[in-house]
C-alpha cells in the first residue's frame, strides 16, 4: 500500500540506473543517423594573431571531405554568442563570434569546420588547412590585462569587462584606529569542471519541413534553442533541441559555444545530418575554464575577535571573450566573500579582465570556492594574531539563528538586495566539530607523527540556489493510468528523474513505476529554463508539486462527480481514487486529465554548512594527504538522501581536486600546457578515500513549497579553504601560510623553501 510521503525522504534506487548500468543509455556519440557526416573543428594554434589568410583548398580536395566552412562561408554579420546570466554593463562589447574572423584571441578558437564521410577523414583534413597568422603579443593573465598595453578588443579601448564597487555598512566604522587589521593577497588557479563525457552535437536539417533538430543539448536547451533560431533566421518552433543522457555538466556543459551554431549551420549548408564530438584535447581548450582569480583583502576586528569589516579587491581573469556565464564568477565571489558571518562593513572592488586564454564560465559553485578560500584563510591568520582558537573565532562571528533572515544588501550590480533565509549556522558548526572529534584531534595540530606533520583546518560556507526564471510542469494522466510529467528542467546526471518521480508518487499516491518524467526536448513545453545553480529541485521540483496538486484536484473532482460526493471526500491511494465507504475507481477510468503548474520563487534559499579537514604533510615530498574530511550541511529538506549524499561527496572530491591537484597551466605565449588527462590531474579513487558528508534537514526554507535548498553545489565551496587552513596548521612551526592553490608538492616545497630563507635572514 502506498502511504502519503512514502517516497519523499527515502533513498529510492534511481530510475535512471537500469539503462545506464546495462550500456543502454543514449549519449550523444551513440547517435547514428542515415547519411550522417562527421565534423571536426579546426582551431587556432596561436593565442593572439591576425588571420591573414586561411586556405582550405587542400582539405576540400581530400576524398571523403564534403565541405570546409570558415568565416568567409558564414552570413554577415557573424553571430555573437549571447550572455545568459550576470549581465554586467558593457560586457556586450566582448562577445565571441561563432567563428574567428580576422583575429584569433585564444588557443583553441574555432577557425573552420570540416565535414567528411567519417571522423577519421574529417581529422585528416584538419592537417591540410593552412593559415597565415600575423602574431600579436598575447595578454598573459590578470596583471597583463590590467595594464592595457595590448588590447584584445581594440574597439573597446580596454581589457576590463567589469570594474565596480560593492559596499554595505558604514565605512567609517572600519576606520577606527583601535581595530586589529591585516591585509593579505591570495590567488586561485585556473581550473575547471572536466565532465567525463566531452561535449557533442548531432544536427539534422530537414529541408522539406524547414525544420532543425539538434541532439546533445544540456543544461539550458530552451535558451540555446531561442538564440540558435534567431541566428539561423528560423521560427523557434522550427528548431528542436533534444537532450539525451549527459555525462556530467558541473556548469560548463550546455552553455552556448561556437559549435552550437556551427554544427547546425553546417547541417543546413550541406543538407545532411552532422555529428560533432569534442575530443579530450579540444575539451581542455574549447570548453569553459573557471576560477582564476586574485584577491587582496583586509580584515578589521575588535581585539576580542569580532569582525567589523572586510575590504579589498577581487580581480578575475575571464579569458578572451565574455562567455554566456563569465561575469558570474567574480560577481558571486564578491557577493559571498563575507560568507555566513556577520560582517557589518563590506567594501569590495571587483575587476574582471580579459586575457589570451580560453573564455571563463560558471563551474559548480562559481565564486563560492574562491570566496571561501580568501576569507577563511584570512580569518585563520587573524585568529592566530589575536590568540583566539580558529573554532572560537568562527563561532563568535557566525550569524546567529535569531538574526535570520539576515539582509546581505545588494552585492551584485545586476540583482537587487538579497537575504539569507533560515538555518542555525552555529548548530551545524558545532555538530560538525563534534562529529569530527575536533577538540581531541586538534591536539595533533602541528605535531609530527610517523614523519609527517598533521594539521586541522575549518571552513564555513553558504550558497544561494535556484536562480533564474521560474519553471513549468505539466502532468498528464493517461488512459493506461500512468502519469507523464513534462518539465523544463535538464538532467546532467544528478538523478532528477528519480527525485521528481518521488515527489509525484507522494502527491498522487501512485506507484513510481507508473510515473514517467519527460524532460528531454524543447517541444514538450512552451518554455523551460533548465538546470543550473542547483535549481532543478527548487524550480522544477516545486513546479511539479504545484502541477501534481492541480492534477490531484482534477482527479478528485472527476471521482466526486462519479460518486456524487465532494472532492474533499476523495482520497488518492495506490493509483485509485477512493471514497470513504469503500467505493473506488482506478485513475485510468478518469483519464485523460491534466494538471499544470509553475514555480518561480522571488527569493533564493541559502544552504550552508561547515567543513573540516585533517591533513598530514610530508615535508620531504611535499605531499598532502587528506587523513579525514567531514562536511555537515543543511539542505532544508531532503527528497532522496542517497542522491544528496552523492552530490555532496562528489562535490567535496571535486573541491579537493581544486585544492590539491587541478591546474590549467599556460606558458608565456599563452599556450595551454595541460591539455590531456595525463597533465591535468583529476582526483582518482586512491587520492581521497577517507571523507564523509552529513546533510541535515534542519531548517526548511519558507521560500518554496517543498522547503528545499540546493544540494548540488555548496559542498564544493569548502575544500579549498579547509585544506589550506589545515596545511597552515600542519606547517605552523615553519610559519607557512598558503595563499595560493593548488597545494601540490611543488608549491609546498616553495612555501617551505621561502620559510627556510626567512629563517636564515
Amino acid at each position: 500500500m502506498t502511504k502519503a510521503n512514502t517516497y519523499v525522504g527515502s533513498s529510492m534506487p534511481r530510475v535512471e540506473d537500469q539503462r545506464l548500468l546495462t550500456g543502454k543509455g543514449e549519449f550523444i556519440d551513440d547517435v547514428q543517423l542515415p547519411g550522417m557526416l562527421n565534423a571536426a573543428v579546426f582551431r587556432s594554434s596561436m593565442a593572439h594573431a591576425i588571420v591573414r589568410r586561411i586556405d582550405t583548398s587542400e582539405a576540400r580536395a581530400l576524398p571523403g571531405v564534403v565541405a570546409v566552412l570558415s568565416a568567409a562561408d558564414l552570413p554577415r554579420p557573424i553571430p555573437r554568442i549571447p550572455i545568459r546570466i550576470a549581465p554586467i554593463e558593457g560586457a556586450e562589447r566582448f562577445l565571441q563570434p561563432v567563428i574567428a574572423e580576422g583575429c584569433v584571441r585564444y588557443v583553441g578558437e574555432p577557425l573552420a569546420i570540416v565535414l567528411a564521410e567519417s571522423q577519421e577523414l574529417a581529422e585528416d583534413a584538419l592537417d591540410r588547412i593552412e593559415v597565415d597568422f600575423e602574431p600579436l603579443d598575447p595578454v598573459s593573465g590578470i596583471g597583463d590585462a590590467r595594464r592595457n598595453a595590448t588590447l584584445l578588443h581594440p574597439e573597446a579601448g580596454t581589457n576590463l569587462v567589469a570594474d565596480y564597487q560593492v559596499t554595505r555598512g558604514d565605512p567609517a566604522m572600519a576606520d577606527d584606529a583601535a581595530l586589529y587589521r591585516r591585509t593579505e593577497s591570495f590567488r586561485i588557479q585556473r581550473h575547471t569542471a572536466v565532465p567525463m563525457e566531452t561535449r557533442g552535437l548531432v544536427a539534422q536539417w530537414d529541408a522539406g519541413q524547414g525544420r532543425l533538430t539538434v541532439r546533445g543539448a544540456a543544461k539550458v536547451p530552451f535558451f540555446i534553442r531561442n538564440h540558435l533560431a534567431r541566428m539561423l533566421g528560423l521560427a523557434q518552433e522550427m528548431v528542436e533541441l533534444i537532450e539525451l543522457d549527459v555525462g556530467g555538466g558541473f556548469g560548463v556543459r550546455g552553455e552556448f559555444y561556437p559549435e552550437d551554431f556551427l554544427v547546425p549551420f553546417a547541417s543546413r549548408a550541406v543538407g545532411r545530418p552532422v555529428k560533432w564530438i569534442e575530443d579530450r584535447r579540444e575539451h581542455f581548450m574549447a570548453t569553459a575554464h573557471s576560477r582564476e582569480m586574485e584577491c587582496s583583502l583586509e580584515i578589521a576586528c575588535t581585539s576580542e575577535g569580532r569582525i567589523i569589516a572586510l575590504r579589498g579587491e577581487i580581480a578575475a581573469d575571464l579569458g578572451a571573450y565574455v562567455s554566456p556565464t563569465g561575469p558570474i564568477v567574480p560577481s558571486r565571489a564578491a557577493q559571498f566573500l563575507a560568507g555566513p558571518y556577520h560582517v557589518p562593513v563590506l567594501d569590495l572592488h571587483v575587476v574582471a579582465a580579459l586575457s589570451s586564454r580560453t573564455p571563463v564560465g560558471s563551474y559548480r559553485g562559481p565564486g563560492r570556492f574562491e570566496a571561501a578560500f580568501f576569507r577563511e584563510r584570512l580569518m585563520d591568520m587573524a585568529a592566530r594574531d589575536l590568540g583566539i582558537a580558529p573554532d572560537e573565532f568562527r563561532r563568535m562571528n557566525l550569524i546567529a539563528a535569531s538574526d535570520l533572515p539576515y539582509s546581505i544588501g545588494q552585492l551584485v550590480p545586476y540583482e537587487g538586495p538579497a537575504s539569507y533565509d533560515t538555518g542555525d549556522y552555529r548548530a551545524v558548526f558545532d555538530r560538525c566539530l563534534e562529529d569530527f572529534g575536533w577538540a581531541e584531534r586538534r591536539k595533533l595540530d602541528g605535531r609530527e607523527v610517523a614523519g609527517r606533520l598533521h594539521g586541522l583546518g575549518l571552513a564555513c560556507v553558504i550558497d544561494s540556489s535556484g536562480a533564474g526564471p521560474g519553471e513549468h510542469a505539466c502532468l498528464y494522466l493517461q488512459q493506461d493510468g500512468n502519469v507523464r510529467v513534462h518539465v523544463g528542467s535538464s538532467a546532467l546526471g544528478q538523478g532528477i528523474e528519480t527525485t521528481f518521480t518521488q515527489i509525484v508518487a507522494d502527491e498522487l499516491g501512485l506507484h513510481p513505476e507508473r510515473i514517467r518524467i519527460c524532460h528531454g526536448s524543447t517541444s514538450l513545453l512552451d518554455e523551460g529554463h533548465g538546470s543550473f545553480h542547483s535549481r532543478s529541485l527548487i524550480m522544477g521540483g516545486n513546479a511539479i508539486v504545484v502541477a501534481a496538486r492541480a492534477l490531484r484536484d482534477a482527479i478528485r473532482n472527476a471521482a466526486a462527480a462519479r460518486f456524487g460526493c465532494t472532492g474533499d471526500e476523495i482520497r488518492l491511494q495506490d493509483g485509485r481514487a477512493c471514497k470513504a465507504e469503500g467505493q473506488s475507481t482506478a485513475f485510468a477510468d478518469l483519464a485523460p486529465l491534466e494538471g499544470r503548474g509553475s514555480f518561480g520563487g522571488a527569493e533564493k534559499p541559502f544552504g550552508y554548512g561547515t567543513h573540516v579537514a585533517h591533513v598530514a604533510v610530508d615535508v620531504g615530498t611535499g605531499h598532502v594527504e587528506i587523513v579525514d574530511y567531514l562536511a555537515v550541511e543543511d539542505a532544508g529538506r531532503i527528497v532522496n538522501p542517497a542522491i544528496v549524499r552523492g552530490q555532496k561527496i562528489g562535490a567535496i572530491v571535486q573541491g579537493l581536486g581544486g585544492a590539491l591537484l587541478e591546474h590549467l597551466v599556460y606558458d608565456d605565449e599563452a599556450q595551454l600546457r595541460t591539455a590531456s588527462l595525463a597533465d591535468y590531474m583529476l582526483p582518482t579513487a586512491a587520492d581521497f578515500p577517507q571523507l564523509d558528508a552529513v546533510t541535515l534537514a534542519l531548517a526548511p526554507t519558507p521560500r518554496n513549497p517543498l522547503g528545499v535548498k540546493g544540494a548540488g553545489e555548496d559542498a564544493i565551496a569548502g575544500p579549498g579553504a579547509a585544506v589550506a587552513n589545515a596545511v597552515a596548521a600542519a606547517l605552523s612551526r615553519y610559519g607557512v601560510e598558503p595563499k595560493e592553490l593548488p597545494l601540490d608538492p611543488p608549491r609546498i616545497w616553495a612555501l617551505l623553501a621561502a620559510a627556510a630563507a626567512r629563517a636564515c635572514r
Binding site: 546495462t22 550500456g23 590531456s676 586512491a686 578515500p689
Partner: protein, 168 residues
C-alpha cells in the same frame, strides 16, 4: 587511408566478422561498427578508463587497442554483463549503493571490477581502490563505487556471477 581488413572475433559470446581500417581502435569498432555503444570514450589516451572491456577475460582499454589486434579473441562488454538477468550482481550492487550519477564512467568501471572480482573475489578495500584508481569518475567521488564493489564480492565468492568474455 589503408584498405580495410576483415577481423573475426567473439563479442559477448557471439562470433562476428567485421571489416575495419587498420587504424580503427577497438573502442570505435565496438561502438560504431558493432553498435555496442555501452563502451564509452572519455579521453582516447588511456587515462579515464571509460572504454574498458575484457579481452580474453583481462581488462583492457579499448581506445589503446586496435581492432585488428583482436583477431580470434573474445571480447566482453557491458552489454553482456547481466547475462539473461535484468542486472548482474555487480550492477545490482551499483544500483543499491547509488554508485553512479551520470553513468558515463560506469560501464568501464563495471568491466574492471568484474575482472577483478572474477579473479580475486576476496579483494580487500585497498585492492579495490587500487584497481578503481585506473578509472576517472567526475561525479561520485568514488566512495559509493568502492562500497558497491566490496558488497558484490559475496556473489562472486559463491559463484553467482559468471566470468565474462572467456568465449563460449
Amino acid at each position: 587511408m589503408a584498405d580495410p581488413r576483415l577481423v573475426n572475433l567473439t563479442v559477448n559470446g557471439r562470433m562476428v566478422a567485421v571489416s575495419v581500417e587498420p587504424r580503427r581502435s577497438l573502442a570505435d569498432c565496438l561502438r560504431h561498427d558493432l553498435r555496442l555503444t555501452g563502451t564509452h570514450i572519455g579521453c582516447e589516451h588511456g587515462i579515464c578508463g571509460a572504454c574498458t572491456v575484457l579481452v580474453d577475460g583481462a581488462a583492457v582499454r579499448a581506445c589503446l587497442m586496435l581492432a585488428v589486434q583482436v583477431e580470434g579473441r573474445a571480447i566482453a562488454t557491458v552489454e553482456g554483463l547481466a547475462g539473461a538477468a535484468a542486472l548482474g550482481p555487480l550492477q545490482e550492487s551499483f544500483r543499491r549503493h547509488h554508485a553512479l550519477q551520470c553513468g558515463f564512467c560506469t560501464p568501464g568501471i563495471l568491466m574492471s571490477a568484474h575482472a577483478l572480482l572474477s579473479a580475486e573475489p576476496k579483494a580487500d578495500r585497498a585492492r579495490v581502490i587500487e584497481v578503481l584508481s585506473g578509472h576517472l569518475c567526475r561525479c561520485t567521488g568514488y566512495l559509493p563505487i568502492v562500497e558497491a564493489i566490496l558488497d558484490a564480492r559475496e556473489a562472486y565468492l559463491c559463484g553467482a556471477a559468471e566470468p565474462a568474455g572467456k568465449g563460449k
